[in-house]
């Protein structure tokens, strides 16, 4: 009795209770004595009543089914066959067995799911240390002021050609003059500040010529430019021992893309 009392709480339904009773008998579901099983089940229901426990409708339905099976079992075989013929549906005994077998399988499956559930609690996914790649946003190597000036020059040149074919460049200064001038200044060896090159410029055209000359020298790898700090002034220095400039290049041949490479600009002033 006390055993039932304890167990009652965990029975999920009449099938669960029946499986419990079968298991207690230690027989296969298929070999179970349904008459005996019916008696035990009803006995259990009676006990529930005694304890004033609320009995779920499903238990009562099952009890009546079992009573019916039990009564049939007690009939002589001949009469039983007749009854069977009158019935439309399945043999209730077989129907109950089938239901129990199926329920048992899912109860077992539920136990296996529970095992998986418990196992998952012990499975820890690898949560790696977050990787850190150095931020690769463009730095000053990507665009240099020289690229920019060079671009201005390209615009100016094209603009002139397009709109003012008749205008003639005021030839007071030539790029070759300025190249020579810069080479001369740089021969002294020390690095000079970018602005120094333009200090004595008298006109726009002179500035532009000087600038183009500078670009050309950088392109020819005679000079290097750099900044010692992010906001430092641009400094120009000799790349190495002065190599005589062979032919004076034509300024327009200084294709922008050739003028500087990031490496050139980057090189620190020595």
């Amino acid at each position: 009795m006390s055993e039932y009392q304890v167990k009652f709480e965990v029975f999920e339904g009449p099938l669960d209770l029946l499986l419990y009773l079968i298991k207690k008998e230690e027989v296969d579901i298929y070999s179970v004595n349904l008459t005996k099983l019916a008696s035990q089940f009803i006995e259990y229901i009676e006990m529930m009543r005694e304890f004033d426990l609320e009995i779920a409708g499903e238990f009562l339905v099952m009890a009546s089914t079992l009573m019916y099976i039990k009564s049939r079992e007690l009939l002589p075989v001949e009469q039983q066959a007749q009854v069977e013929d009158e019935e439309v549906g399945e043999d209730p005994r077989w129907e109950l067995i089938r239901q129990l077998v199926e329920y048992k399988k899912f109860k077992d499956a539920a136990a296996q799911l529970q095992t998986l559930e418990a196992r998952q609690e012990s499975v820890f996914p690898r949560l790696p240390i977050k990787m850190q790649f150095e931020e690769e946003k463009p730095t000053k190597q990507d665009i240099s002021v020289f690229d920019l000036l060079n671009a201005v020059n390209a615009v100016l040149k094209r603009f002139e050609k397009r709109d003012n074919p008749r205008e003639i460049f005021e030839d007071k200064w030539t790029v070759s003059d300025k190249i020579e001038m810069i080479v001369r200044v740089m021969e002294k060896g020390a690095a000079i500040r970018f602005s120094e090159l333009f200090e004595n410029a008298m006109s726009r055209s002179e500035v532009v010529c000087t600038f183009l000359a500078l670009l050309e020298l950088i392109r020819l790898k005679q000079l290097v430019c750099g900044q010692s700090s992010d906001f430092g002034e641009i400094e120009i220095s000799k790349r190495d021992a002065v190599v005589p400039v062979g032919t004076t290049p034509d300024a327009t041949s200084a294709k922008p893309t050739e003028v500087t490479t990031p490496g050139d600009v980057e090189s620190p002033t020595s």
Binding site: V10, E12, G13, P14, L15, D16, D28, I29, Y30, S31, V32, N33, L34, T35, K36, A56, E58, M62, E73, L74, L75, V77, Q80, E90, D91, R93, W94, I97, R98, Q99, V101, E102, Y103, K105, F106, K107, A109, A110, A111, Q112, L113, Q114, L116, E117, A118, R119, Q120, E121, S122, V123, F124, P125, R126, L127, P128, K130, M131
Partner: protein, 231 residues
């Protein structure tokens, strides 16, 4: 460079499980980088099938290496996990996993029925369990382990329920086919024996020889179709 090891390094470094399509996208993105080298570019259009084959190879290798971790596939996505036996120390390291409370017995039974027989109507589930499943269905739906997935073409057009991806994740399953004893449970061949049940009172109802649980495995073909069409 072997595809296998690239995939391994990715899963080794990922903060979440990755699916073959996600991995394929990574290959494409890596190849789109300006200075991508020939190897990186060459793997631009790696096929899902090749990725899956390589992943399975890696998983097998780690299984064979029998170290403290494995590469597993859960619900189609792959990740490295540690073996459960190291849980005591991992709990000390990362703290107890934040996981919902374990499912109750009724909920597990209901879930099992849906998992193996999906899609199922509520009435079909109740037929098997022999009790109402209103409360447990509510729990399962709230936890996102099952979902409604259409309606049955019968009178009343009752809702049909199936399990979700979260269900696979919750139990650590690769796919539904990996449910334990899936074949057997999906098509339980419970046949009425040919010989009539004995009518002798007090005797066993069925002819036991005909109806052994083990035999279910031996003759699945006859009963199977009826069960499987329900899926």
């Amino acid at each position: 460079m072997e595809l296998k090891f690239i995939l391994e390094s990715l899963l080794f470094s990922a903060q979440k499980p990755l699916s073959p399509p996600e991995l394929r996208d990574i290959f494409a993105n890596a190849a789109a980088v300006e200075d991508a080298d020939a190897t990186v570019k060459g793997l631009k259009k790696t096929k899902d099938a090749d990725i899956i084959a390589a992943l399975e190879e890696i998983a097998n290798e780690h299984e064979a290496a029998a170290r403290s971790y494995r590469l597993v596939c859960v619900a189609g996505s792959w990740q490295f996990v540690t073996q459960p036996e190291f849980a005591p120390w991992l709990k000390a390291l990362v703290g107890v996993k934040a996981r919902p409370s374990r499912l109750s017995q009724p909920a597990l039974e209901t879930l099992a029925i849906i998992a193996y027989r999906q899609p199922m109507t509520r009435a079909e589930i109740e037929q098997i369990r022999g009790v109402s499943v209103d409360g447990t269905m509510q729990t399962l739906l709230e936890r996102g382990l099952v979902e409604q997935s259409g309606r049955a073409e019968v009178i009343g057009r009752p809702a049909l329920y199936t399990t979700t991806t979260a269900f696979l994740e919750y139990l650590g399953l690769k796919r539904l086919e990996d449910l334990p004893a899936a074949d057997e449970l999906r098509r339980i061949p419970i046949e009425k024996p040919e010989a009539p049940l004995t009518a002798d009172p007090g005797l066993a109802t069925a002819a036991p020889a005909e109806l052994k649980l083990e035999e279910a495995n031996e003759k699945p073909a006859e009963a199977a179709p009826a069960e499987e069409t329900a899926q």
